[in-house]
Symmetry: C2
């Protein structure tokens, strides 16, 4: 078995004692570092970068070297799964992802294939292998995928949206189509995460980015059962579930067959711990906007966060991805503050 | 004192017994009715319509005649306050509001004036007077304003945003400027709501549309104190506070000096009732997407909602504004279902 020099993340995830709180940041690869922008420039576009294993590996490792985080997360996008199922997307500058074709009928769902990761997503798996080799055990590597409901949102809506009302309309008007689509995404996602693990991912995270647009009842019908299937299927490595905005589902989250639950910054820590229970590691949840503040403010807010979470069964992170215009020096201040205040 | 033929909304707001649950919908004026679109066409633009008292009054009354709702809400926009303070906005088709000038420094805040409603917002007050005359007591008229924090978001960010990270950055980097701006907005808003009431508004609602982007701690610092000031100042008519996404502040909401708390569809009804307490009327909270469903589904979900809220201290509504592409027949189905299931 692989020997990691720094396995804080994995021990914290499994609920083992750690001498220090591990820390990493959602969206740490890409977005903020000038070194990332240089590679992105070289690649041409976001998608050209994400599909180039050498370059994707390079930007994956940058935050480990430059920021001192305790884990790498593979540089990729949750939308590679729809693409691998037969629904490609383009990434439009200043707009975000756009799907030229969307799911409108059961015939469209039937035309989708179950993703074959070794074939359709080989570029991600190759990037993971390169990262693992170049990291040579310094820190663990995190793999990830979007939650089925969040992917359904894009596949029906065709693009980002504040309300995803078109996608939600499908839930109310065509539950049969919705469940068929969710099941196909789930089957694809399980294969994909298992392939990431086989390629070397040490932990996988499921991002339910649009969980917060559902009512508690709909979340129970259209999202949780599919996340449950994924958690039950992944037994090889620890699993983290991060459902942004799903404050109403924290109690159910505590019953998932996973190791870590991510919190956003709206969620009170003590209340979340109570609802989720003591058998899960918690991850989060600094407001990304705190990193716009002074070093004093960043250190102060980080200390408040650590005091609220405690030092065991805890992985420090932001409550959402780091914002693109964050100063890397402020990010480093946050990482260093966790290391200082988070030691036993 | 004015005699209303249908005062269900006001009695429910004040916690008095009602023979039936009152119902209206956020954004009922504008957005969905073909009759509205015809007037909008005639006016030219959204702003030309909003600033034309005769036409604004006409679209305000349409839902009362056409949909049978138990209240009218004045057709206007929360952004008229920034405009009256000296920060005009334009409404760009398919983009939303844009402020050519934004608040960037304390000097910018100092340049803002406290709104003088009788002068700067005379067109709204005139519209209210026309509505009152034309309604001639059929149903109450609701006035409204944005919560100071939500208005700050637009005044600093300059446009809509998923994260309002620029506005939130100001909270962390310049609390003095933020509080000065919030106080000026609050002072303007109190004068504005009082002027609406003097012109004839029977209840006023405060919309904190972006409450959900704050952490519980920041909400306590930057939003609640200003909503509290407004609630304390408005003693003439019942006040409704609707803070979308502020699930974490429900307990504090229960202590506000107001009559009604609005809930969005993420908020569980029984839990909200427990957190807010029995001294407030609740308003909400059907997912607007339910109205995309079949009549059976709409009736079924409306019944579930009413069973959860009960028939007293309750005003039926959606959990957010009705979506523009909702079929008016489906809206009518919802209104009728409340009237059917909501009678004693």
């Amino acid at each position: 078995m692989e020997k990691l020099q720094n396995d804080l993340l994995l021990r914290a995830a499994r609920g083992e004692q750690t001498e220090r709180i591990p820390v990493w940041m959602m969206r740490q690869a890409g977005r903020i570092l000038p070194e990332y922008r240089a590679v992105r420039e070289k690649a041409g576009s976001f998608i050209q970068l994400a599909t180039n294993p050498e370059l994707a590996a390079e930007v994956t490792i940058q935050p480990v070297d430059i920021l001192g985080v305790d884990a790498a997360i593979i540089f990729s996008d949750i939308l590679v799964i729809p693409e691998a199922m037969g629904l490609p997307y383009i990434m439009e500058e200043r707009v975000g992802p756009i799907f030229p074709n969307i799911i409108q009928s059961m015939a469209d769902v039937e035309k989708l294939r179950i993703a074959d990761p070794e074939h359709d997503l080989k570029y991600v798996l190759d990037a993971i292998k390169i990262v693992k080799k170049e990291l040579s055990g310094r820190v663990p590597l995190i793999g990830f995928a979007g939650a089925p409901f969040t992917l359904l949102c894009y596949m029906i809506e065709g693009r980002g949206s504040k309300t995803f009302s078109k996608a939600k309309k499908a839930l109310y008007t065509d539950p049969v189509l919705s469940h068929a689509l969710l099941q196909k995404i789930t089957d694809s996602t399980i294969l994909y995460l298992k392939a990431q693990i086989a390629a070397g991912a040490n932990l996988v995270q499921i991002f339910d980015s649009w969980a917060g647009i559902l009512s508690p009842e709909q979340y129970r019908i259209y999202s949780l059962p599919y996340i449950t299937q994924i958690c039950d299927a992944i037994t090889e490595v620890p699993v983290t579930v991060f459902a942004k905005g799903a404050f109403f589902a924290r109690e159910e989250m505590g019953k998932l067959n996973c190791e870590v639950i991510g919190l956003d910054w709206n969620m009170d820590v003590a209340e979340s711990r109570k609802l989720i229970g003591g058998n899960k590691t918690l991850q989060g949840n600094l407001d990304p906007c705190v990193l716009y503040g002074s070093f004093d403010e960043i250190r102060n807010q980080t200390k408040i966060m650590i005091d609220a979470f405690g030092k065991q069964r805890y992985i420090a992170n932001l409550g959402h991805g780091v914002y693109p215009d964050t100063n890397p020096d402020n990010v480093r201040c946050f990482i260093d503050a966790v290391k200082e205040f988070g030691s036993r």
